[in-house]
């Protein structure tokens, strides 16, 4: 199996060349990537959803394009429009317990 350099789909049957079409993002390698970079193709795919491309190869159950990019380490602020603005994640009301031989000791900060 091969990985798509555009969307991170990890089950390409053939290498991404010689007119192989990725069922996930629809890139036709050797044609579309001859004049357009993989990053630009990725940005276009993300801007459309990202959605599963193929109507022949069924979409895997619980498939999510963002998760596919994350697992392939292709998730970048350069490609994801909503990551370009500042995003701040706060984990609130955290409890920090420790477990000692099955006894739960917890403390609330």
């Amino acid at each position: 199996m091969h990985t798509c350099p555009v969307c991170g789909y990890a089950k390409l049957e053939f290498p991404p060349e010689d007119f192989t079409i990725c069922p996930s993002c629809g890139t036709e390698f050797g044609y579309q990537d001859a004049s357009t970079s993989h990053q630009v193709l990725r940005q276009k795919w993300v801007s459309k959803g990202p959605v599963w491309h193929s109507v022949v190869v069924p979409q895997p159950p619980l498939w999510n394009g963002y998760l596919q990019l994350i697992k392939a380490h292709m998730f970048s602020a350069e490609d994801i429009p909503w990551l370009k603005g500042p995003v701040k994640v706060e984990i609130g009301e955290t409890i920090r317990p420790s477990i000692e031989r099955g006894i739960l000791v917890s403390s609330h900060p």
Partner: protein
């Protein structure tokens, strides 16, 4: 079989002698974004987190194989992720599962629901499902420095 503890956390540190320690147990997450940013409903961010659970077995229940099924749902009720983790015939009466995730769903305001239940290998229910919730708040119109 009894469930002793089930919780999401940032990280589980495992010590050979003391056992696992949970780092950053959480049930509430706030994502602050710039007012001009629209987040799609299927958005995930790269964030490592884990679902820790510890189960107590009777002596008759040891040395059997069990399957922990875990499901993570979006706030709108859509299933995001399902994992099946198999134990390998535990010899002790304590059974621990650590389900690691690489991404966290934050495209929707509301409660991310986690369901856990235990099955035998033949899918017979061993422990009925339990639910854990993580509140996710997406705050817009926040000026970030």
């Amino acid at each position: 079989m009894n469930l002793l503890l089930a919780t999401p956390c940032n990280l589980v540190a495992n010590d050979q002698e003391l056992g696992p320690s949970l780092i950053g147990v959480f049930h509430d997450m706030t994502i602050k974004i710039h007012p001009d940013i629209e987040i799609p409903g299927n958005a995930l961010i790269p964030k490592e987190w884990a679902i820790f659970s510890k189960w107590m077995l009777s002596s008759e229940e040891t040395r059997r194989d069990y399957v922990l099924v875990s499901e993570v749902y979006w706030p709108d009720g859509t299933l995001l992720h399902q994992t099946k983790s198999k134990s390998s015939s535990p010899a002790t009466t304590a059974l621990i599962f650590i389900i690691k995730h690489q991404a966290f769903p934050f495209g929707q305001d509301g409660r991310v629901r986690i369901r856990l239940w235990m099955e035998n290998e033949d899918k017979t229910l061993v422990h009925e499902s339990i639910e854990i919730f993580i509140s996710v708040r997406v705050q817009k119109n926040v000026v970030l420095g």
